[in-house]
Symmetry: C2
Subunit: 369 residues, 2 copies
């Protein structure tokens, strides 16, 4: 098992985490390393569940905050010459400049910050004014049913209680509040099959889908202000499939639509909206996940925003803040690196960005002198 040194520079710790391959479904080695390193620290109550680990201080403060991050990554890049690989590599000297490797932004930089904070608490250098729960979990990059965080909610709900949660997903070091919801619909047209040499005996289901696409092409997505943040929506055909053979008039065409809706709407609101837009067509909802309101008006969130500074932004992609939101725990995203590099072959993070994130969270957690 790789031994992790939690006390080294947090950017070097990020590199050490990248060097443990942890593509979804194969998180055990990294979970073992993280658990072993945490057990070396004083002052934590540690729970392991599958490949998830929860480490909690129990100082008896009246308030508890949660810092959460996932251990898994998307698969390694297959492109020749890509630097988003395992092991990691540096543009210059280790610990300076840019660090490349799978998970650099999504989200081993964030996990390194969590571990460095825990190490500082363990060393007695940081004595937070609130109790802290660190959550490290598996299976974030795959279907929601496999989510390690979802499993923790089912198996150990008490471990996820708190007044406020921070997800260390990459946000370029600014606070991103809440997230859009996401829903999927299938719009299906039906026709009558016939040999294409006698097309007039059939009815073309692909031709029938023309107005569906025309409405989608003409659709102007809204931007919705929620708790002071502007959420930009989007509504798109993501897949289309119709027809059975090159000489048969198609009797069925299916358009899959993905609607990313602002957190002022429930999945049912979103469905109503899509049904109105697709009036006259057969619509089936196949998937939906609620968004999360930013919740920045909550005192714990407000104090966090004040402490780290900068202008909070909305999060467009769905993240696990929505799970905390469903538990009644206000949650924001705050982590090092550019989310647009996530899942990319040239995934990378700046060493200074990781250190800046650690400094901001250290300052916020420290009691006011």
């Amino acid at each position: 098992m790789t031994a992790l040194d939690l006390h080294q520079d947090v950017s070097l710790l990020t590199a050490a985490l990248i060097d443990i391959n942890s593509v979804s479904d194969a998180e055990t080695p990294i979970a073992d390393a993280v658990e072993a390193a945490l057990r070396e620290l004083d002052g934590f109550e540690i729970t392991r569940d599958g490949d998830s680990i929860v480490a909690r201080t129990t100082a008896g403060h009246g308030e508890r905050v949660i810092l959460a991050g996932h251990l898994d990554t998307v698969p390694l890049p297959t492109t020749e010459g890509s630097r988003g690989t395992v092991p990691s590599s540096w543009d210059g000297a280790p610990g300076e400049g840019v660090l490349h490797g799978r998970g650099a932004v999504d989200m081993k930089g964030g996990v390194a910050v969590q571990l460095a904070l825990a190490a500082a608490i363990g060393r007695g250098e940081l004595t937070p004014a609130r109790d802290v729960t660190f959550v490290f979990y598996d299976h974030e990059e795959v279907e929601a049913t496999k989510s390690g965080l979802g499993r923790l909610v089912r198996n150990h709900p008490a471990l996820l209680e708190g007044e406020f949660a921070i997800l260390l997903e990459p946000t370029n070091g600014v606070v991103e509040g809440g997230c859009n919801g996401t829903s999927r619909f299938e719009v299906t047209t039906h026709g009558v099959a016939a040999h294409s040499a006698r097309a007039w005996m059939g009815e073309n289901a692909i031709h029938a889908v023309a107005p569906v696409l025309a409405r989608l092409a003409a659709y102007q997505p809204k931007t919705v202000s929620v708790d002071g943040l502007d959420y930009r929506e989007s509504l798109n055909a993501v897949l289309i499939n119709g027809g059975t053979a090159g000489n048969v008039i198609p009797d069925r065409c299916v358009v899959e639509i993905n609607y990313r809706f602002a957190p002022d709407k429930t999945p049912d609101d979103a469905e109503r909206h899509v049904r109105e837009l697709m009036d006259g067509f057969e619509v089936v909802r196949t998937d939906a996940a609620s968004g999360a309101r930013p919740g920045l008006t909550h005192p714990a969130a407000a104090s966090f925003v004040a402490a780290v500074g900068g202008e909070p932004k909305p999060k467009y992609g769905w993240t696990d803040v929505a799970r905390f939101s469903e538990l009644g725990v206000p949650a924001v995203n705050f982590g090092p690196g550019d989310a647009l590099l996530a899942h990319k072959d040239d995934e990378r993070v700046d060493a200074d960005a990781v250190r800046a994130c650690l400094a901001a969270l250290t300052a916020w957690l420290s009691p006011i002198a």
Copy 2:
């Protein structure tokens, strides 16, 4: 090997042919049976090429006509309780009423008529005023490159010379002249992939296809008169496919179009027409087969139409008359059974229809008394 009795009632001979399974690529048993039976007859020069057989009279008449039919069928039905199977079955007594089985209309009824005519010539009951070439060929129901008739054209072009050809494809006993051409095109739209949570960073290739489908839906297919027959055209999207995943803005969408064009047009004319309709879009022609003009003005064709009676009709589907047309041999379809039942699970033919077809051809081939 199954021995075929060519001298029995032609509907019973049809049943015997159905009972020899001959799905494309497995025509050897039926070709062996047909060849052996033909070799029993007097008066024919016989050539075997793969699973195709050519049997020619060589009486030295100034004129030669060709009667052609394919030996293969589409696969057997898999539907429970279907009667379009091997062996065949009768609604009533054998030789009366309706005969069920794969190939009943497409086209073992027609092949039985060819063989019965050859048998009558062999027995000396029929002494045609013109020389006759019977062609039995493999691989008609599959891709054109496998066609046994195409192979005969390459290997034995002299065997396919003649003044007029009749293809015994099912036409309900009326003369169907010529055939529409067929061509296929791919219309492709391109976009820019992006995560669907940040759709504004991408460009949706499925939305971009909306005008393609709108133009197809609004298109009014023409009916074109060629040599006195009306050919009804059709132009349809037959397949559509776009998108890569439920959370990605699609960067590519492909619509496959099938244009069935009247025989007044070449494949290049057809392509020009589709390119004009799809102006502004990327169009690639992926396949094309010329149609065939009906050629009913040719004396041999005219005498045939006069002999069998009825009003000639256009053929909409592409058939091998187009191959004869390319060889400069005017050709028509004339055979027993309803083409709309071809390839169907309930494929069937009326015994009387097979006998009527045989009677019509016997009358036409017989010298005027």
